[in-house]
Symmetry: C2
Subunit: 364 residues, 2 copies
């Protein structure tokens, strides 16, 4: 048996209450229900990855992710991790739950890189050692915006992402007006999570313009498959990002070929790491811009995305804020947070994240 042979895997669902209900157009969640996946090697080293299924985003659930990950043990145990790509491909063939695929791929790559004492940040290219994230205002009331903005401003956030499409366009317009009133200095990203019709989205953009409000970015205004709608909103003169519509390399190729959007929001929970890496190259080859985002992810998945985006470099939009909404940290390491800034560690092994002692059970 080689030192890099996988001897055990473990699957540990974990729930963390959020500081406030995280609402998007498709629904709201008060608790993050994620899954930790570990692989242990013969030499005692370990790789870990997180599945962060988000029912309101695409219907994936903790139960689906957990069930999917449980099927992987016979595919992985006994295999040499140096042949990691066939293992990643085997997991992708075995399970269709994207967040479970991402957890497995993350754990495999992390295990290999820890063994090699190489940081995931250097593996992906070592380009940038810090990233500046936005912070999110979930769907909700005008009053809630007035309540929470002072703390985000005090922490130094200069880009605010506001979730829209959860109620009427008029309600959202009112929320945008209040946001611009209380924080005139910030750049605003509106994210409809596929919750608007083309007409609603175009009206939203036009009324904002009439109110002298400008969006830095309008994310996924219309339904996932409505590429004509994305094109139509782009023609309104606002930068548009695809998120739900950019769910695979092939879907991004189609978006770029149709020139439907200017920006692609890359989330490892949609595609895993290798496919996301190819999406980055493809978007760049077409002159598009990059965003890195996440589901409702703990610092484990966020550190992975930060190593990915910082290593590759050149991401124009960074949306890695969800650990700010977690009431407790199950993990430590990977990056340090200074207000909106994630500082990465090029000297870490793998993504550098460890479960906090006593917070998550060790592998069986």
């Amino acid at each position: 048996m080689t030192p890099t042979t996988i001897v055990a895997v473990s699957i540990e669902p974990f729930d963390v209450a959020l500081t406030e209900s995280f609402g998007i157009a498709g629904g709201a969640h008060a608790i993050a229900k994620n899954v930790l996946f570990r692989v242990r090697l013969a030499n005692g080293s370990e790789g870990i990855g997180e599945a962060a299924p988000l029912p309101a985003f695409n219907g994936e659930t903790q139960a689906l992710a957990e069930t999917a990950l449980r099927t992987l043990e016979p595919l992985l145990v006994g295999k040499d991790l140096r042949a990691w790509r066939p293992l990643v491909e085997a997991t992708r063939e075995a399970v269709s739950v994207a967040s479970a695929r991402c957890a497995a791929e993350t754990a495999l790559l992390d295990g290999l890189l820890r063994h090699q004492q190489l940081s995931m940040h250097t593996y992906f290219g070592g380009a940038e050692t810090s990233l500046r994230s936005d912070v999110t205002l979930p769907t909700g009331s005008v009053e809630r915006i007035r309540e929470v903005m002072p703390q985000w401003q005090k922490l130094g956030f200069s880009t605010i992402k506001i979730k829209v499409g959860g109620s009427s366009v008029d309600d959202d317009l009112a929320r945008l007006r209040v946001l611009a009133e209380v924080a005139p200095e910030v750049a605003i990203i509106a994210d409809a999570n596929a919750g608007l019709t083309e007409d609603e989205a175009r009206r939203f953009v036009r009324e904002l313009r009439q109110a002298n409000l400008s969006l830095a970015l309008f994310e996924q205004p219309v339904a996932k498959d409505d590429l004509d709608g994305l094109c139509a909103v782009s023609r309104e003169g606002v930068r548009v990002a695809a998120d739900e519509s950019a769910w695979s390399l092939a879907s991004v190729a189609t978006l770029l070929q149709k020139k439907a959007v200017d920006v692609v929001n890359i989330k490892l929970m949609k595609t895993g790491l290798e496919e996301a890496r190819a999406i980055v190259a493809l978007v760049r080859a077409h002159g598009g811009s990059l965003m890195i985002g996440g589901m409702v992810e703990s610092s484990l998945a966020i550190a992975t995305s930060a190593a990915f985006a910082g290593g590759l470099g050149g991401f124009a939009f960074v949306d890695l804020d969800t650990p700010l909404f977690f009431t407790e940290s199950r993990f430590e390491g990977g990056y340090t947070l200074e207000g909106p800034t994630l500082r990465l560690d090029p000297e870490a092994f793998g993504h550098g994240v460890r479960p906090r002692v006593g917070r998550v059970a060790p592998p069986a």
Copy 2:
């Protein structure tokens, strides 16, 4: 200064006579005129890469590659190799000669991986530890085919690539008939290197069919920019590969979107490693097939391509035969050759190739 700081680079042109003139549709070369590029790190370790410019393929020359590589010293010396992606991007912005870009990127990645004691094969995924190559019959006479085929058959080659388009279609048809007569057991790839018109290419396919001869693959029958011609040849019922037409990630995206070809020939000398890696993912996402090829490359560049293709896995066509045409080996390591089979070493550091002592000068 960190251990991974680049302290020196060197550029060493080297010429190697070939065992026979290597003829393709665009011209023939009796001598390989390539360039060795090295980066030396503060800790004494080194990374090396080869530029194999091929004038008959795309007009690149040894002088162009050498001049391009000489401009890179101020961009690289003093930089930390852990931030390798910005260095690769800087070299790509500084020089447009694709083979020089490939040499620089190879040397940078090799240097990093040697420092980390990680093989390039494992870095790319560790999928397959051996590759089975075809061997090439350059343009030339019918008699030459009768002369050389016995040695290739004795060595066990089961796929023969024959260069066509260098003279008339009738001459090439005669060469194909002789090849099929002396080696009825082999699979045949015809490679026109963009040397035929659409009409010529279609006639070639039809006359072969009338003679009961089938091609395993027809590579780049028509001009680089003639995508309609590629489509037309594909409609003749033969598998078509793009080579000259597949010169970048964006060009491959267009080929796939037009469904112009079934197979993409990936050559690191066209795109470098990172762009090639994204091309592999894109071709797979569209259900296409992969070929790995090269220019007239020594074992240094071939070992790099072998680590790439073997690491990624799943290449349906392997065309890594050019070291067989070199009258001497300037390098050692990287892989071992058993007839048509390249055996890779997952335990190597980097691509594992070293200059043979006394054969290439050390860096200044």
